[in-house]
Amino acid sequence: MVETSNDSNKKLRGISFKALKATMKGALVYAVYYILWMFIAPISQMIPGLQLMIETFVAVYIIFIIVEELTSGTIYNCFFNVAKALFVIGYLISAFNGGIFGITYQNINLIVDLRLVLEIATILSLLGLAKSVFQTINFMSEKAEYAPI
């Protein structure tokens, strides 16, 4: 009976710790976004939909971070890791629209070629995906090592 109570306490403490860690990570990402947004804000008025696009990305990314943290130590963590990496790749490709942005501002047509940036970002996202796959393999192999024969 005492052991069960201790287990519950441990579990509760573990969940609380994970929740705290997830909150802190989420808050940190949001703080970074908030600071970076101050730099982008002057041009956001020129590009319609930029703020919504970035806000959506940050919101989904923070949700992934929180869920990942809450499911750490389980196989679901690996799933969410891979899902996050795939989300970043997918969102980059769809949001960057092939890497070429066209804006019309006061009779001036502006074309910004971000293809090189998109390529670098996609490579980094693929690296993140590879890392997630390795983490899954590592997790499964560790589980197999400790499994009773």
Binding site: L36, F39, I40, P42, I43, N107, I108, N109, L110, I111, V112, D113, L114, L116, V117, I120, A121, L124, L127, G128, A130, K131, F134, Q135, I137, N138, S141
Partner: protein, 259 residues
């Protein structure tokens, strides 16, 4: 396997931060770029072509050098055909540097008249296409383009030959005086000569005269050409041919019937 995963994680994070930092600072640098265009100047080249010169000043107060600055200006006629173009290329504009350049375009009015002689007599609009491109932070090419129109002022606007005056000198010769008037709406001064040849109804040359002109831009010209003709060659009807020889263009004949 944990150590390689940690290293991958660290490397990915580092490169992401690096990439985002470059992107943000590049955007911020673009905000601190200043382009200013001076008053366009109209000059004349040694081979009597019009030279449009637009002074450009670029001040780079951003964090990065600017590469491959290229400005191309195209002048188009009302049908969209290119009349002339000019390009300015600056390989590098270093940070905290101010660069002055000019975008020059030469225009041969004779070429313009071959396309459409109405440019001499009617005011119209010419289209201007401006295309500028730069590369920020060595990874982000940016291109800006715009188009607008400018007024083309005809150098011989409302060109008119008045009613000629016939004054007998003796039994065989007479003096012909023909009034000429036009408005120089062009943005350049017109200097040269006008030559007139008068033909009778059998296309025989009756006589001709020439006068020098010097008409300032945006001013009216009204003078007379006087020449002596053989009385017996004059008929009640015929035609007059007008030729222009100016420093910017040679044009003629304009055939105007009389009688």
């Amino acid at each position: 396997m944990r150590i390689p995963i940690k290293i991958m994680s660290l490397a990915t994070t580092f490169f992401w931060i690096f990439l985002i930092a470059i992107l943000i600072t590049a955007v911020y640098s673009a905000k601190d770029l200043q382009f200013s265009f001076g008053q366009p100047q109209l000059l004349t080249t040694s081979d009597n072509k019009l030279l449009f010169s637009i002074p450009i000043t670029i001040i780079n107060k951003g964090f990065y050098d600017i590469d491959y600055f290229n400005l191309t200006t195209k002048i188009l006629d009302k049908d969209g055909f290119e009349i002339t173009n000019g390009s300015t290329f600056i390989p590098v504009i270093e940070k905290d540097q101010e660069v002055n350049a000019t975008n020059n375009m030469t225009m041969d009015i004779n070429d313009l008249l071959q396309r459409n002689e109405n440019y001499l007599f009617n005011d119209t609009e010419l289209g201007i296409d401006e295309i500028g491109s730069i590369r920020i932070a060595e990874i982000i090419p940016v291109q800006a383009s715009t188009n607008f129109s400018i007024r083309w002022g005809a150098p011989l606007y409302n060109f008119t030959l008045g009613q000629y005056q016939y004054t007998p000198i003796n039994f065989t010769q007479a003096s012909i005086t023909i009034p000429i008037s036009f408005d120089n709406h062009a943005s350049f001064n017109l200097d040269g000569s006008i030559q007139i040849r008068m033909y009778n109804n059998t296309n025989g040359l009756v006589g001709g005269g020439q006068t020098d002109i010097e008409v300032l831009q945006s001013s009216h010209y009204s003078e007379c050409i006087e020449f002596v003709v053989q009385t017996m060659r004059i008929t009640e009807s015929g035609h007059v041919e007008v030729y222009f020889n100016t420093s910017f263009f040679d044009y003629g004949p304009i055939v105007i019937p009389y009688g």
